[in-house]
Symmetry: C2
Subunit: 498 residues, 2 copies
Amino acid sequence: MKGDFNAYVATMRKIADISHAISLLSWDKEVNMPPNGAAFRTQQVATLSGMAHETFTAPAFKENLDALYEVREDMDIKSRRNIEITKKKWDRAACFTTEFVMKKSKITSEGYHAWLKAREANDYGLFKEALRKLVDIKKEECELVGYTDHPYEALLDEYEPGAKVADLDTLFSDVRNQMVAFCRKIADSQQVDDSFLVKHFDKDKQWDFGLDILKVMGYDFDSGRQDISPHPFTTNFAPTDVRVTTRIDEQNFGSMTWSCIHEGGHALYEQGLPSSEYGLPSGNAVSLGIHESQSRLWENNVGRSLPFWNAHMGLAKEYFPEQLGDVDSNAFFKAINKVVPSLIRVESDELYYHFHILIRYEIEKGLLEGNYDIDHLNEVWNAKYKEYLGIDVPNDKEGILQDIHWAYGSIGYFPTYSLGSFYAAQFFAQAKKDIPDLLSKMEKGDTTELLAWLRENIHQYGSTYPAEELCKRITGEGLNFKYFMEYAQEKYGKIYAV
Amino acid sequence: MKGDFNAYVATMRKIADISHAISLLSWDKEVNMPPNGAAFRTQQVATLSGMAHETFTAPAFKENLDALYEVREDMDIKSRRNIEITKKKWDRAACFTTEFVMKKSKITSEGYHAWLKAREANDYGLFKEALRKLVDIKKEECELVGYTDHPYEALLDEYEPGAKVADLDTLFSDVRNQMVAFCRKIADSQQVDDSFLVKHFDKDKQWDFGLDILKVMGYDFDSGRQDISPHPFTTNFAPTDVRVTTRIDEQNFGSMTWSCIHEGGHALYEQGLPSSEYGLPSGNAVSLGIHESQSRLWENNVGRSLPFWNAHMGLAKEYFPEQLGDVDSNAFFKAINKVVPSLIRVESDELYYHFHILIRYEIEKGLLEGNYDIDHLNEVWNAKYKEYLGIDVPNDKEGILQDIHWAYGSIGYFPTYSLGSFYAAQFFAQAKKDIPDLLSKMEKGDTTELLAWLRENIHQYGSTYPAEELCKRITGEGLNFKYFMEYAQEKYGKIYAV
């Protein structure tokens, strides 16, 4: 019995079709749905999720998958990886009893509602019991899934397959050791003026400017569209229909602009995945860290660079002559890269950002190790903000209650944000080597070669290579923090003369 | 074995969830989807359709349905009808072999593409072979499904359950006998001036005006929304999310306005269906004819009445002071009811409209009876337009190729459009009896009682009563053409002094 690869593909595509219908139901919920539609929409998503699950767990599919797994060594690399990844996903799902899944679902749902209430009341006390249950069930999950070195890896694996705690420890100790001092130097330097970014910027003009910027990046509007939603996100129903959303703050030029570029980066990855591999791991993004590397590369390495704005400052001035007419691209470049410690992760600059993640990483790992008293976890949080960012957290809402992730039971997700930035720096450094005139092309507003490089080296492969291996293939080594530090030193060295 | 009603309901709701996901995929395709998304979207719809079909035809569902059918006499009316309608649908589906379904699907697909080409080339000759195959397969379908009096009833039944050819023959002979003469009298009278309706009407203002009119009708924007699409339509994902679309022609005030009211009428029906009956026939519209009665009642009996515009002419003038500022509501009322024979069904006034349907009805029935030479069916078409409307059809595109229905294999659908108008007239006559001050309330812009009457008498029941029985319950008799004729004589008697 050697298995039927075509039957495997057919079922995977069927599941993808259902999952993409769910994605559309969810996109529509954020973008279009009238308020009363919520209850039946939730039910429709649940029904389709159930059908996707049934299809994936059907005995015939599993039998075929096992048969294919046995002969995987005879397959080409892409097919082998597809079978391996699918098998791993199946085995993970098989670790949980229905009872456990229902218990976890209940705890997660209660956790979310407790978090909403606690946030509303600005009182961590109202969340702590729910968090305790969330942590306990995640601990149980780790034991059920199993791990080699550290229970945290069982959770990490869902977001960043193959990631190791030892590697993250190294990365985050680099952050601690190298960036605290660097940021302190910046804080002691002459500060930059960004007052012109917080004038009034008309909504419709911002919208049009955002669309122009997406076009400049190479986002294909024949295979996507942009809409407005409360929280910006990217979703896809196929590589031929990849949608982004944004939000507009009329008092803040940055809010729309870089969220637009960020989501655009995610979308370029999805648009670059091979349609021929639809529904298979080889047609899907490899990890959240690599996905985030694409958004961060465009947002920061490109979209907050001087060459990019030397090319597009004119466009910004066309849209906003009053607000930006007398701002030169150098002053603009400095303003959009202002570094200042702040309480809220999603509003952070690209340096302090990693302290926000470092703190969450330390707390998550510590929770699994049982090192913290959950009753007073907000105090732990606040102490770490004081230590790494040098700021006092005035209340829980702007502290431990700011992010939704834990309330949803997402522990092990946060590190992928930092991984994204670090991969981005390493990839961009390599792209500059491979395309010697990259920066001068960027000065002319031409990033087509960069996009082609990303397509060639990353997008086309989907999950064919694990993240770490992909990184080695492209840059000759695994993820290394030094590239991010070099990028930061070069860029902020100029801006702050440090 | 008495059957498990709850299990029946659960499966029906599951199917409804899948079907509504398909509706969203389809709505999105018309309203939002970027062009390259089409191929995967078609595949996703096919996958979900297959799953809905599998769920409906699963042996366990059938077994339970049969068990429930046996004890249906012991059920309350709603449950009994649910079981009967579902059983009928199941039995109809069981008439077809997979081979037949595939053959029909192929012929339909080819028919559609042949029609597209023929229309493009303005040449019926390019469609006739495909039409012959379509007619043959529909004949075969009639024989497989079975019928009592006339094969056409086997097709009608899908759109207007229980409709009889004998009744339609009576209705359409009434149309022929009473309306030809009436329309000739109108043609010989003093014509009305509608030149002010074809000025330039700004797109954005039309959009806002349309939204205001929907609000005036009682359309609930918390349970729906309006968007733009090439062909206006109404869709729903639950009674709590019922969406309409419209199109705007800047050179024509009427195009958006009455399509908006028409779709609004469909939407009010869907918003008025009971959420508690979600997924069951008792939660679905009873027939296309009754559905169309709701759109036509609002479009014509209300939306083209003098009282309605006595109330809302001020609003129209506010939006379009230049174009309509010096038009009084009486002149406006006449203009929007101008009667003139025309080639295209969807552009017709509400009287000649029924000749368009009469012609299609005669041809459809004749095709099933084998009375026509398909090679020259366009000549039959043109002769009938000459006979009933007194106009020459200059080409096939504006003649036999104008509608998509036959190309899709929809034979038996057209009569429901006329049924809609006739039911509307009969219902509206009854509503005026039941609400004595209805017209004076309409003069004040108040149609809340009318909507409540429709909710009470029609919407709340879904498919609990068959169309004909529903009509009897409300008006004391079955569908009777005289109400439409009385409505026409009263209204057009005033406008044309006939």
